[in-house]
């Protein structure tokens, strides 16, 4: 009964080929010595990574300030998003799992809501709202608050609006598994509340905290829909990629994609390792 039929196994294999075909193609053609990312194969080159532009007219991504600043911008967004998501997500998880108050179910539902709001809508609503706030403040304060205008701070807020839900869910899931008698046992043995938190609760939560942080990092790096609406003069990576793709693909995009894949692969293995430690 447990033994899968051959057909099923073939399907699984086909599925994973389907899953990785586009990524493989992207990765391989990053090394094609041709100005276009398409067959036929013209031989291997690293020009699209470290070339100075003399061969194909465009420099390799590691030499091109456009890509380098985009990566920098992405990091400037992703790191705060991940840190805030973990910090606030922990508090939210606590509210979801521990606090008792009236209207809790409503708050819990609200926390899930961002998951089903299309990213574009999140983007435009935040853009519109903060524009109004900035305009009103401008009238009152007579200065323009750059923070509230399209730009990295707004991108951070926009991404946080839904990544926080995911971080909250990940941490809450772990917190739910926490046996509260552990905390009581620690209290019973004479520990103060802060000591309990430090020695028992947080060590237990730590795999989820790391996990939520990595997931937030990845999602932030990946996000396009919301970011597109909120970006100012400093585009993160996906926005630059989108712009370049509309211009027509060059192997530089393949090269940057390959870098992304390697980064993701690295973080994923990190993730697998931490979750193994927790299991």
């Amino acid at each position: 009964m447990n033994r899968p039929s051959l057909l099923w196994k073939l399907y699984i294999a086909a599925f994973y080929i389907f899953l990785f075909a586009p990524l493989l193609v992207v990765a391989i053609f990053a090394f094609n010595a041709s100005p276009f990312p398409s067959p036929p194969w013209k031989g291997w080159t690293l020009e699209w990574f470290i070339g100075n532009g003399s061969v194909f007219g465009k420099p390799g991504i590691l030499m091109d300030p456009i890509w380098l600043t985009s990566i920098g911008n992405s990091l400037k967004v992703a790191v705060p998003v991940a840190l805030l998501a973990v910090l606030l997500g922990t508090v939210n998880a606590w509210v979801l799992e521990r606090a008792e108050f009236r209207g809790k179910t409503i708050v819990a539902m609200m926390m899930l809501w961002p998951l089903v709001i299309p990213g574009v809508i999140l983007g435009i609503s935040i853009l519109a709202f903060f524009s109004r706030v900035a305009n009103s403040l401008e009238e009152v304060l007579q200065t323009d608050l750059d923070l509230l205008r399209p730009g990295l701070p707004l991108v951070i807020l926009g991404q946080l609006s839904f990544i926080l839900t995911i971080a909250t869910l990940i941490i809450a899931a772990r917190l739910r598994k926490f046996d509260r008698s552990l905390e009581e046992a620690a209290l019973d043995l004479g520990a103060s509340r802060a000591h309990v938190l430090r020695t028992v609760t947080l060590p237990f939560l730590s795999p989820a905290l790391v996990g939520a942080g990595l997931v937030a990092l990845l999602m932030s790096f990946e996000n396009f829909n919301t970011t597109l609406m909120l970006v100012g003069s400093d585009p993160p990576l996906p926005i630059t990629m989108y712009g370049q793709m509309r211009e027509g693909a060059t192997p530089a995009i393949n090269a940057i994609s390959l870098l992304l894949m390697l980064g993701v692969g690295g973080i994923a293995s990190l993730f697998a390792l931490t979750s193994k430690a927790q299991g």
Binding site: S181, E184, L187, D188, G190, A191, H195, T199, F204
Partner: protein, 359 residues
């Protein structure tokens, strides 16, 4: 009393909303005693214990430890420690760290704490286990770590909430005896919760039988077993036969059972409906009627089942006038040892073997 008792509860009540989880409970535990609270699931045992430990506040009443009122004292300042049903060992720490945890909280120097933890582990028979992960222990070993973790703090009182519940049968039997021995070695007062009457009977100096938030009876195991104060205690503690009937009235000692038979008791039976209890081991069996002639209650029946269980074997005997088969202990020797289903048999019991309570 105040000087020799470690724990006094005075009229403690706990309400959860409309639900009375603990209802006006008072008792004292003498220093060095093994005190058990025995009751069915949901009767409020855990709630009571959590109030003593400081995880719940009583709705009313007072809890005193060595004469000092504990109301308002947080859990981490009370001189009691608790062994949780789930044991609640810290999975992120080693065995040694678990045991030293409480000492660290008290600010005992690291080296000394470690030393004392190691010594305590030795005393509970876990020498050399300090470095192990708690996940790498067997059930019984985990059990002992949980107890060591409490005892190392030398508490006035150790609370144990069904600590054997998760163990398997053979281990439970073994730990029963070991726990009792640990308690007498350390001479610490234990307050022990269980719903398993055998655990309570075997280990305790005194037992409180709890039902629906109230204490039905407090006494030694033998008192409870031989002189139950209420029908609940009679049926909850130990195997027993149980029939309902009605007194004949007019100061008589006869009881007419619902199914027809008439039985005789010692005391005067009220005219109203009553419950009668007879322990299986009090039922005398014989192949012939004569040898039971001296018993006021004598019947003849037919064996409907032989429940062979080694030394605890019993017989179920279908008897006219009783709505359920009468349970009796299967004799281990003599002519009746090999009795089979369907055999006819005589049975009887003395008047004072039967406890009668108003229903």
């Amino acid at each position: 009393m105040a000087s020799s008792s470690d724990l006094d509860l005075v009229a403690v009540t706990k309400r959860f909303g409309p639900h009375l989880a603990v209802n006006d409970v008072s008792f004292s535990v003498t220093r060095g005693d093994f005190f058990s609270i025995l009751g069915p699931s949901g009767c409020g045992k855990t709630t009571l214990m959590r109030m003593i430990a400081g995880f719940e506040d009583p709705t009313s009443g007072d809890i005193r430890i060595r004469g000092k009122s504990m109301v308002g004292v947080p859990a981490n300042r009370r001189p009691v420690n608790m062994v949780f049903q789930s044991l609640a060992l810290f999975p992120m720490m080693s065995v040694g760290e678990n045991v030293a945890y409480g000492l660290n909280c008290r600010g005992v120097a690291r080296a000394e704490a470690e030393q004392r933890a190691t010594r305590m582990l030795e005393r509970v028979g876990l020498k050399g286990f300090a470095e192990r992960r708690v996940t790498a222990l067997s059930g019984g070993q985990r059990q002992r770590v949980a107890i060591a973790r409490c005892l190392v703090l030398e508490p006035t009182l150790v609370l144990l909430d069904e600590p054997l519940g998760a163990l398997d049968l053979k281990l439970r039997e073994h730990m029963k005896i070991e726990l009792k021995q640990l308690q007498s070695t350390f001479n610490t007062t234990f307050a022990y919760i269980t719903h398993d009457q055998s655990e309570a009977l075997v280990m305790s100096d005194r037992i409180a039988v709890m039902n629906q938030g109230r204490f039905e009876q407090v006494g030694s195991p033998r008192e409870l077993y031989h002189n139950p104060a209420t029908p609940f205690v009679a049926s909850f503690v130990g195997e027993t036969n149980r029939w309902s009937g009605e007194g004949g009235g007019a100061g008589g000692t006869d009881i007419r059972l619902a199914a027809g038979a008439t039985v005789h008791s010692t005391g005067i039976v009220p005219a109203k409906s009553v419950l009668c209890f007879v322990r299986p081991e009090a039922v005398a069996l014989s192949a012939n009627a004569e040898s039971l002639a001296s018993l006021p209650n004598r019947f003849e029946g037919r064996v409907s089942a032989v429940l062979f269980d080694g030394a605890n074997s019993s017989l179920l005997i279908d008897t006219q006038g009783f709505d359920q088969p009468i349970r009796a202990v299967l004799p281990q020797a003599g002519p009746l040892a090999g009795i089979e289903v369907g055999a006819s048999i005589h049975l009887g019991w003395t008047a004072d073997a039967m406890k009668v309570f108003p229903a």
